[in-house]
């Protein structure tokens, strides 16, 4: 009998070998270096759009083949001239060869197609870019001979031009600040021209935060305020109009208030005087209490009004917070709260509207909203307290209930003991 275990041990390697193979197989295959994925065929030196230019200019050809132009029968020769059917330098760079267009000529060169309505109609593209460009700060400086200002290729690229809808494009909405920042974020260049570094200011602003961090695509980029091809700083009197495109309520109240005329008379811009321009911060209602004193002086009646507006706003916000806490408490009981939540949104809307209304710097206008927000919140609180009060009556009912329980028990005990006595 003792040989049997030995016989089993002899068989062990037979079992272990396939087992080990099964266990180790994944490890072995994983140890082999993975093949780097290769495209099926190497790119041909010639392509339909670039002709044979790519034989000598492969880097440019690769960029150009990805562009929107390559799909639309625009060839290298369309901009550079020459002959793309030949690799013979004398023929290729022969008759009509333009070489690299000078910066001064680039806008005109692009405009030769892009200002042609017959050519652009099929793409539903505007044809006024060149005219707009000539009115822009860039265009006017170029006309004066300043060759360092932006031309078409600085924003759109030279060979790799992509439509603005393509996320890889330099002029895609989210890439615009970076594209403008190539020059306007270059501190050395801007300092030499006595210009502020607006790119960094913008990137610290609430607008950039909304656009990049919150994904709010309605938040403005550079072109939303300055224009696209006709890019220029808005005039002092126009800042309010620019901001008012989106901030309609603020502008409506502001125009109705006393500040607009006063600021214009003083030659100061409407919105930027308090909010700044590129580095605009998010709305902080508590600034109502400090901002007025900056122009009007501490102790002035205007500073006192600012303080009063802030007190109004804060009071209403606190009332809403109290209502929220009560609703949460009621929900855990639970008490029906959907209706309260909906009404709370109403109160929040009133409170939110108090901030644009503050641009009118009129106490009655602001109070029209804060008082409504307060009254809705306190109504909610009142009703919830009434329902929570019902819980107190429950406890009173409990006392009555225990009285009857004890009476029942006493009666039952008497029945029990009477039976015992009868026996």
């Amino acid at each position: 009998m003792r040989t049997v275990p030995r016989a089993w041990w002899c068989l062990a390697p037979l079992v272990a070998a396939p087992l080990a193979a099964v266990l180790l197989a994944p490890a072995l295959t994983a140890a082999q270096p993975r093949a780097i994925p290769q495209p099926a065929t190497a790119p041909a030196a010639a392509s339909a759009a670039a002709g044979r230019c790519g034989v000598c200019h492969p880097a440019e050809r690769v960029l150009f083949d990805k562009s929107g132009h390559a799909q639309e029968a625009v060839h290298c020769t369309s901009c550079h001239g020459g002959n793309d059917r030949s690799v013979d330098l004398a023929v290729a760079h022969g008759a009509g060869f333009r070489g690299r267009p000078s910066r001064r000529d680039i806008p005109g060169l692009c405009a030769s197609c892009h200002s042609n309505e017959d050519r652009m109609r099929a793409y539903n593209l505007p044809v006024d870019q060149y005219a707009l460009y000539q009115t822009s700060g860039h265009g006017r400086r170029l006309a004066k001979g300043d060759l360092s200002v932006a031309v078409c290729s600085d924003c759109h690229g030279a060979h790799d031009i992509l439509p603005p809808s393509d996320p890889a494009s330099r002029v895609f909405e989210l890439n615009i600040p970076k594209t403008c920042g190539t020059c306007h974020g270059d501190s050395a260049t801007m300092k030499a021209r006595n210009r502020p570094d607006v790119f960094r200011q913008y990137m610290s602003s609430i607008h950039a935060h909304q656009l990049f961090d919150q994904g709010n695509r309605r938040s403005p980029t550079c072109v939303s305020c300055h224009g696209v091809h006709g890019a220029a700083p808005p005039a002092v009197g126009d800042v309010g109009k620019v901001c008012g495109q989106c901030h309609t309520a603020e502008r409506r109240y502001f125009v109705a208030g006393p500040h607009r005329d006063g600021l214009l008379r003083a030659g100061r811009s409407e919105c930027a005087s308090c909010h700044g321009d590129h580095g605009i911060e998010g709305a902080r209602p508590q600034r109502l209490s400090t901002l007025c004193a900056q122009c009007h002086g501490a102790g002035s009646s205007q500073a006192a009004l600012g303080g009063a507006l802030w007190t109004e706003y804060r009071g209403a916000a606190q009332e809403i917070d109290k209502a929220v806490a009560l609703i949460d408490r009621a929900e855990a009981v639970p008490i029906q709260t959907e209706d309260y939540r909906a009404r709370l949104e109403e109160a929040r809307t009133y409170l939110r509207e108090a901030l644009p209304a503050a641009h009118s710097v009129q106490r009655e206008t602001v109070e029209g909203f804060t008082l409504r927000a307060r009254s809705v919140s306190s109504e909610i609180e009142h009703e919830i307290y009434a329902k929570l009060g019902n819980l107190r009556t429950r406890k009173f009912v409990l006392l009555v209930f225990w009285f009857y329980v004890l009476v029942t028990i006493v009666v039952l005990r008497r029945f029990r003991d009477r039976g015992a006595r009868v026996k």
């Binding site: 855990a332 639970p334 029906q336 429950r394 406890k395 009912v397």
Partner: protein
């Protein structure tokens, strides 16, 4: 003995409505049905009128169940009946799908008259039932009631305790609020980690992911399978009791101490008291009702149910390999079941006195592990 009414159904009876029924139904036979549920321990003569039988039985000496440690079994039975009543009322409005479960529970709790109250009573009843069944098991162990000839009673008590725990575990998911959902997720993790038995059990519970499959299975188990099994074991307990007799251990002296009639009244008083206590707890200390379950957001501080804290600490939070702690749990469960088989000798380390000591040590370990399971998540820094 000679009742003229029994011979001639046409003559008016002196016995009122009982006599009226007596002529048309064999009430005594129906009454004898009670003997199956342990209320009556004397043989019932089904040929005699029910009044006589009841009067006679009322003066029969019966063991007092309403005092001393025996009250635990009676309490469990009363609570189970109460859970049945409140459970049926809740089931009238409950809909067991992930979309409707929370909505229907909220309707019960918030919109129906006294719905919150029934819900809270069911919740508190479950809490107390688990606690009382656990105490009953501890009492059985302490008094050595697992020794011959009471092995079958002990097994039945262990299985009933397990059934109650399963009832609680399946029931808490049905609410489908964020706490019940995530504590079930944690609980299922524990179930999965137990070797061999765990995956089989979890398969019957509906898998690893808590979804509509799990919900409907928990629903069927909670409403149908587990209560039916519990009732079957209740009957089994009484059938066994009638064969092996009542225990003589514990505070109550052996033999009958009261009459059947008094016993019935005492039971009624106890039921009223249990009802009153649960009503009070439901009113003064209602369980909080959280938002709907969200499978994509785990609320902070979610733990498995309290009776699963010890396995949770052992399986999920200890540095021991899972199979080892799982095997330990399995051994503990099997040991509880097999206890009567290896405690036959009166001497040595399995003697009754020693067993008490082992029991106290085991309970201490369990409590310590539960405390660890409770605290370990609180001490952890939320990531």
């Amino acid at each position: 003995m000679s009742d003229p009414g029994r011979d001639d159904p046409a003559t008016p009876s002196r016995n009122g409505w009982v006599g009226w029924l007596e002529k048309r139904l064999n009430l005594t036979e129906i009454f004898s049905f009670l003997t199956h549920f342990g209320l009556v321990y004397a043989p019932v003569d089904t040929t005699r009128p029910v009044r006589e039988v009841v009067r006679e039985l009322g003066n029969q000496p019966v063991p007092s169940y309403t005092r001393g440690p025996r009250v635990l079994g009676l309490l469990a039975a009363i609570l189970f009946a109460l859970q049945g009543i409140t459970g049926v009322l809740l089931a009238y409005y409950y809909r067991p799908t992930p979309e409707a479960a929370f909505e229907s529970t909220r309707t019960i709790v918030r919109d129906l008259p006294a719905g919150w109250f029934i819900h809270q009573m069911h919740h508190w009843g479950a809490y107390l039932l688990v606690a009382i069944v656990a105490l009953r098991l501890i009492r059985f162990f302490w008094d050595g009631l697992y020794r011959a000839p009471r092995e079958v009673l002990w097994w039945s008590a262990v299985i009933m305790a397990w059934l109650v725990v399963q009832l609680d575990f399946t029931g808490r998911l049905l609410v489908w609020d964020s706490r019940s959902y995530w504590s079930t997720v944690r609980g299922l993790e524990v179930v999965w980690a137990v070797p061999i038995v765990g995956p089989v059990l979890a398969f019957f519970l509906g898998g690893r992911v808590v979804n509509e499959d799990v919900l409907i299975r928990f629903y069927v188990l909670h409403l149908l399978v587990l209560p039916a099994l519990y009732l079957a074991f209740l009957y089994f307990t009484f059938a066994t009791l009638r064969r092996v007799g009542l225990s003589t251990a514990g505070a109550t002296p052996a033999g009958p101490t009261t009459t059947f009639r008094r016993h019935l009244y005492s039971m009624l008083i106890l039921s009223v008291l249990v009802f009153a206590v649960i009503v009070t707890l439901a009113m003064l200390l209602p369980f909080r009702f959280l938002g709907a379950a969200d499978p994509y957001a785990t609320p902070h501080g979610i733990r498995p149910p309290w009776y699963m804290l010890a396995p949770y600490a052992l399986l999920q939070k200890s540095s021991m390999p899972a199979w080892l702690s799982g095997a330990g749990l399995l051994a503990a469960g099997l040991g509880l079941l097999l206890l009567p088989l290896w405690t036959r000798r009166e001497q040595g380390w399995t003697s009754p006195q020693r067993m008490r000591l082992w029991g106290v040590i085991a309970l201490g370990i369990w409590v310590a592990l539960s405390a660890a399971g409770l605290l370990i998540d609180r001490l952890q820094v939320p990531r």
